[in-house]
């Protein structure tokens, strides 16, 4: 048995399909009871990795350990994992009850016990009384729940979920996200969740692996990913981000003085090794960390003059796109819609001040 924080462990796992490298030397560990997400655009290898965990694909190199046991010799039907498929894969020739009991057929469990566990699982996914329905009599959300119950009834060590919410409409998806999280906390099973939806990953996960081109760019908690991305790629993929090129002029006491395109001389907290005198780096800042004001603020924030190009009303916030002299791309600025905020000066083409706090600047290496 292993300690709790390397319950699932990948060591140097790669998968090649002919000349295509789907998964490229991945190594990380997942703790017991975690809600771990594999996040990335389509074709980034996240589904391939999930299928390797399930045993449907075998790694070209490396080894996967689940609860300390190497998986390369274990066929998929003997693995301590169960999967919720993207299209749910509900058996059309069986009713819901038989679908749920499918995995228990040969498990030497008494009939009454199977029945009890099926009812319990239906209860758990809030589908009591659905036992006699067929898959074609279920809505998308109901199918999703049946698939979830069918996988959980086997009491796997690890539950694998392949974009299970992808086919649901937005409202239902958000509802299911909350339910899924609550369910995971109550059953305590380790969930590995594949998604391309960064918002979904941030909402659900305890930790996220951001993947592109078969590599894991960063494995961190949602907060860390959002506030401390390690690369431009991660910062760009998680949420919206403004990027500015800059050169390091000086580094002192954990603070860097930079010459940033369009913003001029700015200071920012510097904790990474790549921030060295003379280095060309990227400065990133989130739209909601930027402030627009008609007059220059007197609280000593960094500031620069800008022109408002366009704005978009999003209900709970306003998005402005402002151009700064010397910068090619406009800055995105998000301002929470409080109702009281009806600053007449924020009209299109008006010239205003763009300010930021030094701590909200994120320094990233140039790719």
């Amino acid at each position: 048995m292993t300690s709790n924080n390397d319950f699932v462990s990948l060591t140097d796992v790669s998968k090649h399909f002919g000349s295509v490298v789907a998964v490229d030397h991945l190594s990380f560990t997942i703790s017991r009871g975690e809600f771990f997400s594999l996040l990335g655009p389509s074709g980034c290898g996240k589904t391939t990795l999930l299928r390797m965990l399930a045993g449907f694909e075998s790694p070209t190199t490396g080894e996967i350990y689940i609860d300390g046991a190497p998986m390369s010799e274990v066929p998929p039907h003997h693995r301590p994992t169960n999967m919720v498929f993207q299209n749910y894969a509900i058996f059309p020739h069986l009713n819901v009850r038989a679908n749920l009991a499918y995995g228990l057929r040969y498990d030497k469990i008494e009939k009454a016990e199977v029945g009890r566990r099926v009812e319990e699982a239906l209860e758990m996914v809030k589908l009591p009384g659905f036992g006699n329905r067929r898959s074609n009599e279920l809505s998308g959300g109901e199918r999703q729940r049946v698939a979830l119950a069918r996988a959980l009834i086997k009491r796997p060590k690890v539950l694998l979920l392949d974009e299970p919410l992808g086919a649901l409409d937005k409202k239902l998806r958000e509802e299911m996200q909350l339910e899924l999280r609550a369910l995971q906390e109550s059953v305590g099973i380790t969930f590995i969740f594949v998604t391309h939806d960064q918002e979904e990953a941030l909402t659900l996960s305890t930790r996220i692996a951001v993947m592109t081109r078969g590599k894991a760019l960063q494995v961190a908690s949602p907060k860390d990913l959002y506030n401390h991305p390690v690369s431009v790629e991660v910062a760009d993929f998680i949420g919206q981000m403004n990027f500015v090129e800059a050169q390091v002029m000086d580094v002192r006491n954990g603070e860097a003085v930079l010459d940033a395109t369009g913003l001029g001389k700015i200071t920012a907290p510097a904790s990474s090794d790549f921030v060295q005198k003379g280095a060309n780096i990227i400065v990133a800042i989130r739209p909601e960390k930027l402030i627009l004001s008609a007059e220059r603020r007197s609280d000593g924030l960094g500031a620069v003059q800008c022109t408002i190009k366009t704005s978009a009303y999003l209900g709970d916030r306003d998005h402005f796109y402002v151009s700064v002299d010397g910068c090619e791309k406009p800055f995105a600025v998000a301002i929470a819609e409080t109702g009281a905020n009806s600053d007449q000066s924020l009209d299109r083409q008006s010239i205003v001040w763009l300010s930021w706090a030094d701590e909200s600047l994120i320094l990233l290496p140039r790719d």
Binding site: A54, F56, P75, P76, H77, H78, T81, N82, M83, F85, Q86, N87, A89, F91, P92, H93, L94, N95, A98, Y102, G103, R105, Y106, D107, R150, A151, K154
Partner: protein, 310 residues
């Protein structure tokens, strides 16, 4: 007539010709469009199936006197069909041979269809065309080919003798029900492979992965998912072989021998040598009714069984 015209034109926004109106009605009615598509087939079916069938039914209630028909209504032919032990025996034998043939063909075809559906990834069409290659030669030639293979001094017997495995040729190979089953199974294999292949091809591959994921090994998965989901194809294949082979008379006549004669040979004789058309018609209708009843029973039974499993 006058009244309705006024009424319709009052409802219509602008006066339309009857042709336009008919055309609009045609566009709105799915049933009408369907019938239009079917009309050539319906015409042919009506002329070449229903009318001869009607004639057959009529004749079956007549009697043959020499070269003339006695057209007074009689059930004598049907009575004789049930009472005569020969007719009954031949019908039962036909059903047994065709049933065996259907089962054998489906059993042999299933693995082939399975292989193409699940293990052939490129050029599936080529494989399917190759399976229909036996149809490139005429039915009669294929039956004769089997005669050569199964014969007393045929390919199998002389081969086995050459290898020293047998002293005397195997007599049961030709002119026996076995020969009929083998020949029919070969002739009809493509009709079994195609429906089974289609039902296997339609199975969502993620269902198979789901079964594996839930702990099924290959055999359990086949019994739990693949077989039940391919049952429609299996049922279609069984019926597509059983129904036409019951009425086959060429194969039993050529390779069946006295023990392999089937009911259709007798029916043929009634219309030929025996020259008792009413009897032949009655026997043909008897056979049709029995086959229809068995087929319906089979569909009902398989449906019940699959429901039980589910």
């Amino acid at each position: 007539m006058n009244e309705t015209t006024i009424e319709v034109s009052a409802l219509a926004p602008s006066p339309k010709s009857w042709g336009r109106r008919l055309y609009a009605w045609y566009l709105r009615s799915d049933a009408l469009k369907g019938f239009t598509l079917l009309s050539p087939t319906l015409l042919v079916m009506g002329l070449t199936m229903l009318i001869p069938f009607g004639i057959m039914v009529t004749i079956s209630f007549w009697a043959q006197i020499g070269f003339e028909f006695d057209t007074t209504f009689t059930l004598a032919n049907y009575g004789e069909g049930v009472e005569q032990p020969l007719y009954r025996a031949l019908l039962l034998r036909s059903l047994a041979i065709s049933g065996t043939c259907a089962v054998v063909t489906v059993l042999v075809s299933y693995p082939m269809a399975y292989y193409v559906a699940f293990h052939v990834h490129k050029h599936k069409m080529t494989w399917i065309i190759l399976m229909t290659v036996p149809f490139f030669t005429s039915y009669l030639l294929r039956v004769f080919a089997w005669k050569v293979i199964l014969g007393y001094n045929g390919v199998i017997n002389s081969g086995l003798k050459g290898l020293g495995l047998i002293e005397e040729p195997l007599a049961f190979l030709l002119y026996s029900p076995t020969a009929v089953v083998i020949t029919l199974a070969h002739a009809w294999a493509a009709f079994a492979i195609l429906p089974i292949y289609i039902s296997l091809e339609k199975i969502d591959r993620s269902l198979l992965e789901a079964a594996t994921d839930l702990g099924d090994g290959p055999v359990k998965r086949f019994l739990g998912v693949t077989l039940p989901l391919s049952m429609p194809g299996v049922i279609a294949a069984t019926l597509m072989i059983f129904i036409p082979t019951v009425g086959d008379y060429v194969t039993p006549a050529l390779v069946g021998g006295p023990d392999g004669i089937m009911i259709a040979n007798l029916i043929q004789a009634q219309f030929g040598l025996v020259n008792n058309w009413p009897m032949g018609a009655a026997l043909a209708i008897d056979m049709m009714v029995v086959v229809a009843v068995i087929s319906l029973l089979y569909i009902w039974l398989t449906r019940k069984i699959t429901e039980k499993i589910a």
